[in-house]
């Protein structure tokens, strides 16, 4: 009987030696800033764990490693591996972390979705996550919603502070609107997107082409007027509209970044 006991101890030793590859444990590796090694170390512990609860705990820590490395994509992938059969307390932690990492990875809709789900369960968001919600609304271009949210009780901001954040011309420009406006009248879409000078240039170039076509056709140069004038105008016309659309998107991004920066400065 005894030798079986010792054999068991020995075999156990054989299997676990791999875990002793690393002198330090995962947490101290993480503290020492060895995030890549810590990630491997956590994964080794995930591999030997069998309980969903413990695994989720470890994956949460592993995702921190990738977050610290700035690899948010990998971080989201790690978090997505957590099982849903875990205690509600841990599930909340995972949700919070997902919301944060999705935001950092630029997946604003996914991040906002996680926050909404947290709210639906009747959970009051901790302070850090209410900030995340505001930042998500900024990034998605939902600035009016953000303004309403900032006015609610959970934010201790007064009217003046909110106006401070939303100072200047803060208006969402609809990219499709810009496109249609430029189709209606060349250059107007660019001006609508907030780039007045670019609108003028576009309008001038296109009216010059129209003028050239009209003059050529009037003087009887049908080929020149038709092909060099009208065809070229048509190309500029459609290109200008697409450009107006991309300018609107660019404008929205700039404003979103400006708002986020002002907000972060404010809560500092």
């Amino acid at each position: 009987m005894r030798q079986y006991f010792y054999t068991c101890i020995f075999l156990f030793g054989c299997v676990t030696t791999d875990a002793q590859l690393f002198e330090e444990n995962a947490d101290s590796l993480f503290k020492a800033g060895e995030y890549e090694l810590a990630a491997v170390r956590y994964e080794m512990m995930v591999f030997t764990s069998e309980e969903d609860e413990a695994i989720a705990e470890l994956l949460l820590k592993k995702s921190q490693c990738y977050k610290a490395l700035g690899d948010f994509m990998e971080s989201t992938k790690v978090l997505e591996r957590t099982s849903s059969q875990i205690s509600s307390e841990l599930r909340l932690k995972v949700r919070y972390e997902k919301a944060l990492v999705y935001y950092l990875n630029g997946q604003f809709q996914a991040s906002y979705g996680e926050l909404l789900r947290l709210k639906l369960v009747g959970q009051k968001l901790p302070e850090a996550y209410t900030h995340l919600e505001v930042l998500n609304l900024f990034a998605q271009g939902k600035w009016e919603d953000a303004k309403v949210l900032l006015g609610s009780d959970s934010f201790k901001l007064n009217e003046a502070e909110i106006d401070d954040i939303f100072a200047g011309r803060i208006k969402y420009k609809n990219p499709n609107m810009a496109y249609k406006l430029s189709l209606f009248l060349p250059g107007v879409g660019q001006a609508y997107s907030g780039y007045f000078f670019k609108g003028i240039v576009s309008a001038t170039a296109q009216s010059a082409l129209v003028g050239f076509s009209a003059y050529s056709l009037y003087s009887g140069y049908f080929w020149t007027g038709g092909m060099s004038g009208v065809a070229l105008f048509y190309t500029f016309y459609l290109g200008g509209a697409r450009y107006a659309k991309s300018l609107a998107i660019q404008h929205n991004d700039e404003i979103a970044q400006l708002l986020s920066k002002r907000y972060l400065d404010h809560i500092k």
Binding site: Y6, T7, I9, E36, G220, T224, M227
Partner: protein, 297 residues
């Protein structure tokens, strides 16, 4: 640590049991020297399953530092590098796998061979594929890889030999060698177009050279643009005369289009044959790749 525990306690044990323990110890040491202990290998496979190839590489480096290099560490580092598409590094790892374990050796040769084709080193690829042992279970795969390689190097007699071989032993690779046969027929039946004729035809009628090259759409477009420029030049000539600015501008534009079109037709023939080769290369590479992945996954 556990081994020390065993040795010290082993003294108090009966003779038979200590002998038993000694054999286990010997076995495990031997196992570690040649292969991974089960836990380590399991973990590396787990890392492959969750696509954490960089972690796998890091773990194996650490493992090598602790227990030394082995065929297994080389093989799995090679695999991880292959998965992150670091083909040259992967080949270097596979090169170090020794012939001690036939299965590892063959796997390394297949992967190194395919990756050599992928990076364009067909000479080494041939060596790798020929290094594969002629075991019954992989004879078909070996012939398939060599057949694909011959197709790429243009060694058709050799190719036909491998293919006739495959018809007997490689029925499980039917879809793949049929795909190779398809490419082979395409290559054999292709009529080589002449750049000179294409150029001359485009000089006579703009765009005709592209029609000859089988590009009807491009040909029509070239004809239309040249015609538009030509008509505008003609309009200038008819209304304002030879010395008018309008005629000079449009006729120069027409000349540019006309010459560019001839040049384009000549280059088009060459681009076309490059495209043809590229398509064949992709197809052959794909059908060399899939069976390897299925065999060694």
């Amino acid at each position: 640590m556990s081994t020390v525990k065993l040795l010290t306690t082993g003294i108090t044990m009966s003779k038979r049991s200590s002998l038993f323990a000694f054999f286990i110890l010997l076995l495990s040491v031997n196992m570690k020297a040649q292969r991974f202990s089960e836990g380590g290998l399991g973990f590396v496979k787990h890392l492959e399953n969750i696509s954490a190839y960089k972690e796998s590489l890091l773990f194996l480096k650490k493992y090598e530092q602790a227990y030394g290099e082995s065929d297994t560490t080389f093989l799995y580092q090679g695999r991880a590098s292959y998965f992150v598409k670091d083909y040259n590094q992967s080949i270097l790892y596979f090169d170090q796998v020794s012939e001690n374990d036939i299965d590892y050796w063959n796997q390394a040769q297949f992967y190194a061979g395919w990756q050599s084709v992928r990076v364009g080193d067909l000479e080494s690829a041939k060596d790798y594929f020929q290094n594969v042992t002629s075991e019954k279970s992989i004879r078909g795969l070996k012939s398939l890889e060599l057949a694909g390689l011959c197709l790429l190097t243009g060694d058709m007699p050799q190719y036909e030999q491998y293919i006739s071989n495959l018809a007997n032993i490689g029925f499980e690779y039917k879809t793949h060698y049929e795909a190779l046969e398809f490419v082979h027929e395409r290559i054999v039946n292709r009529k080589q177009k002449s750049p000179l004729i294409a150029g001359l035809m485009s000089a006579a009628i703009p765009g005709a050279g592209k029609f000859y090259n089988g590009k009807a759409g491009q040909g029509s477009l070239s004809f239309i643009t040249s015609a538009i420029m030509g008509m505008q030049a003609y309009e200038g000539f008819r209304k304002d005369g030879v010395e008018s600015a309008r005629f000079i501008i449009f006729s120069s534009l027409f000349s540019v289009f006309y010459v560019a079109n001839i040049w384009g037709s000549v280059v088009g023939v060459r681009v076309d044959s490059m495209q043809f080769n590229q398509e064949n290369y992709e197809t052959v590479l794909l059908h060399m790749h899939i069976p390897i992945r299925l065999r060694y996954n």
